[in-house]
């Protein structure tokens, strides 16, 4: 940051390239040390991540332990929300044929909707095809292990994430009037989508979660673990709440939010 003050600062040199190269290095380190989606962890393992002095977090892990059996981590690469959402949901579909049929139908139709919004057909199809290939793994091989392999294969996992990002972007653009006041800076909804939603590695906020649950009509629960209070705060994202018929609103799955990061929780 002090490059300008440094006597060796060379204005003809392109320092941005160095900064970008350094960012790439950090990304590589994260990729080497964290699986895109991990195996199941117990809370006895998770609690060890916090020092003995960190009473608030240790207490909150105990709270989670009283309600959840396991935690599955996702890589901290800015795509964690999408990866956690995708994995947790498809894992749930392994045991819910009716919901799988409903989702398959939404997923199929979404391609034409996105093309209708102006996404280029040629490149969109590339992502949609891979997305559908991953979704259909719910049928074949139809195992958690199959999904685990797919979500740890960058070619499949990252393409899946891209398509979820496009679905969020599509929903925001289709409902721009409802979201425009929740966007920071003097940006249009379209600008927000191209800067904060569509590019890989851009982190998710409340607005992204609301959009994805609405776009796919899936209710989810998020446990917020921060320094406030004694227990985690549960927050339900229910896309059906504005409808008169809110029969099926049990959350499909629960994610854990620790500031800046999402993982998957498995109830007792």
């Amino acid at each position: 940051m002090d490059q300008n003050a440094d006597a060796s600062f060379d204005p003809s040199k392109n320092y941005d390239e160095d900064t970008l190269a350094q960012q790439r290095e950090i990304e590589k380190e994260i990729a080497a040390s964290q699986a895109m989606v991990s195996q199941l962890h117990t809370f006895d393992e998770i609690v060890e991540e916090y020092s003995q002095e960190d009473a608030i977090y240790r207490q909150k892990i105990e709270d989670l332990k009283s309600r959840f059996k396991n935690l599955r981590k996702t890589r901290g690469d800015g795509n964690c929300f999408y990866r956690a959402f995708g994995f947790a949901y498809l894992e749930k579909l392994l045991n819910d044929g009716k919901e799988y049929k409903r989702f398959l139908d939404i997923a199929q139709k979404s391609k034409d909707e996105l093309i209708g919004l102006g996404f280029p057909q040629f490149t969109l199809e590339d992502f949609h095809d891979t997305f559908m290939d991953v979704v259909k793994m719910v049928e074949n091989p139809g195992t958690v292990d199959g999904l685990f392999q797919a979500f740890n294969d960058a070619g499949l996992s990252d393409y899946f994430v891209v398509y979820l990002r496009l679905l969020v972007s599509g929903h925001l653009q289709q409902n721009a009037d409802s979201y425009v006041y929740f966007i920071d800076g003097e940006r249009s909804v379209k600008e927000f989508c191209s800067q904060e939603v569509e590019p890989m590695g851009k982190e998710s906020d409340h607005i992204h979660i609301v959009s994805l649950t609405k776009a796919l009509q899936i209710a989810i629960c998020v446990e917020y673990m921060d320094r406030e209070g004694e227990k985690c705060n549960s927050f339900k994202f229910n896309p059906f709440e504005s409808l008169a018929d809110d029969t099926d609103t049990a959350p499909a799955f629960t994610l854990l939010y620790r500031p800046g990061h999402y993982d998957i929780l498995y109830p007792l």
Partner: protein, 165 residues
């Protein structure tokens, strides 16, 4: 990862061959390596670059299209948005956040649904309408702003050189 990049690059190459955009030819330098392309860009009509044929290299990362390629002209070209060594510096070649030139927030950025064709079309419009707000070549930006006739004269010399005249 490189597998999906290769598949995508092969599909884009096919698309560009079947439906080439006006004034652009592009494809792999060598069909054994789809991550290194050569492009020929015709100077747009009614601009000082008209009549020129400018060769450039595109280098794709192994995680393309999640990350954008890099592009570099391999000929002499004096332009506000091209570094003296030929590197092209326009917003679509950068993801948001990778902000070497402090582009305006509304400028079009790289995202995985963009394509080689979109990049090359942006380069053609860059030739027609240099952006002197975020200049990679400060001399060229100054000349473009303060001495338009001089800029056009340099461009015409470049055009002739690009044709080997």
């Amino acid at each position: 990862m490189a597998g999906s990049a290769l598949k995508r690059l092969m599909a884009e190459y096919k698309q560009l061959t079947l439906n080439p955009p006006e004034g652009i030819i592009a494809g792999p330098v060598d069909e054994e390596n789809f991550f290194e392309w050569e492009a020929l860009i015709m100077g747009p009509q009614d601009t000082c670059f008209e009549g020129g044929v400018f060769p450039a290299r595109l280098t794709f990362p192994s995680d393309y299209p999640l990350s954008p390629p890099k592009m570099k002209f391999t000929c002499e070209i004096f332009h506000p948005n091209i570094y003296a060594d030929g590197r092209v510096c326009i917003s679509i070649l950068h993801a948001p956040g990778d902000d070497p030139m402090g582009y305006e927030t509304s400028a079009e950025r790289w995202s995985p649904v963009q394509s080689v064709e979109k990049i090359l079309l942006s380069v053609v419009s860059m030739l027609s309408e240099p952006n002197d707000e975020s200049a990679a070549n400060v001399d060229a930006a100054k000349t473009w702003r303060d001495d338009r006739k001089g800029f056009e004269e340099i461009a015409r010399v470049t055009v002739r050189k690009s044709l080997g005249l």
